[in-house]
Symmetry: C2
Subunit: 152 residues, 2 copies
């Protein structure tokens, strides 16, 4: 097995997946709890995308944990390709969601109180920041796995 | 020279660059002409990014045109790497700009006339659509060049 740090089945990959799980679920929580997010399209979009990213990251974190702690799984090029394409698509979706949430939240914060009380507005912005972190980590996973692909 | 369609120096790449130039300058024109775009942060951001993408695409289109019509230039891995990194960064920036512009434009269209007369609002949306097309084409260029890189 090659020693590409961050590729599928290594401990660095496990750390990346764990980070994605934490950030995407934090973004989901900041957006969903006690906030009427469904009155704006882009906030609903963020919730949808983060609701896709969280189970994807959790399941891949479980695969990595099994591979690190129990038994090293064999890597198949097809499985890796599916994971790369999925990561790439989810990272684009989460970048798009983060950007639109951030811009709408800052616009609402500018317009002021009738549309967005300051406490809720800062939660929207926190949620967008968490989505940005999740995008960054899943893009890193994509690159590490893409690096590994030609050697299989 | 390898026959990867869409990689640097082929006619498909020339077509891609031409498309990027057209879409990014169309996005710039829709946003800039007779519109007070600088009153919103994300519209200024779109103008900045498209102002970067347009000269980048024009210069690479010129390189491709020279390579196709006059004399085939030798490909160097370092130059190709710089082009890939630049394309990738610009495609992320233009995706971010397109998403934030689209979400803010649709929010303004929902809020209605005092913030956004309907004629100007549809121009914002057209500009965002052009930025999306430009993102798609520059991401395609990135992928084609990345495909060529290991063979050099």
């Amino acid at each position: 097995m090659e020693a590409v740090p961050g590729a599928l089945g290594t401990s660095a990959s496990f750390a990346l997946r764990l980070g994605q799980t934490i950030f995407s679920s934090a973004s989901l929580l900041f957006m969903c709890l006690d906030v009427q997010f469904y009155s704006y399209t882009c906030f609903s979009y963020l919730v949808t995308v983060m609701g896709l990213v969280t189970p994807w990251s959790v399941s891949l974190a479980l695969v990595d944990a099994y591979s690190v702690f129990v038994k090293c799984l064999p890597r198949q090029p097809r499985v890796l390709l599916v994971i790369i394409v999925g990561d790439c698509a989810l990272s684009f979706l989460s970048l798009a969601a983060a950007c639109s949430t951030a811009s709408v939240a800052s616009l609402l914060a500018e317009v002021g109180s009738p549309y967005c009380p300051s406490k809720i507005c800062s939660r929207y912005q926190l949620s967008a920041a968490m989505a940005f972190m999740s995008w960054f980590l899943s893009f890193a996973s994509t690159l590490f796995n893409l690096w590994l692909l030609p050697s299989l």
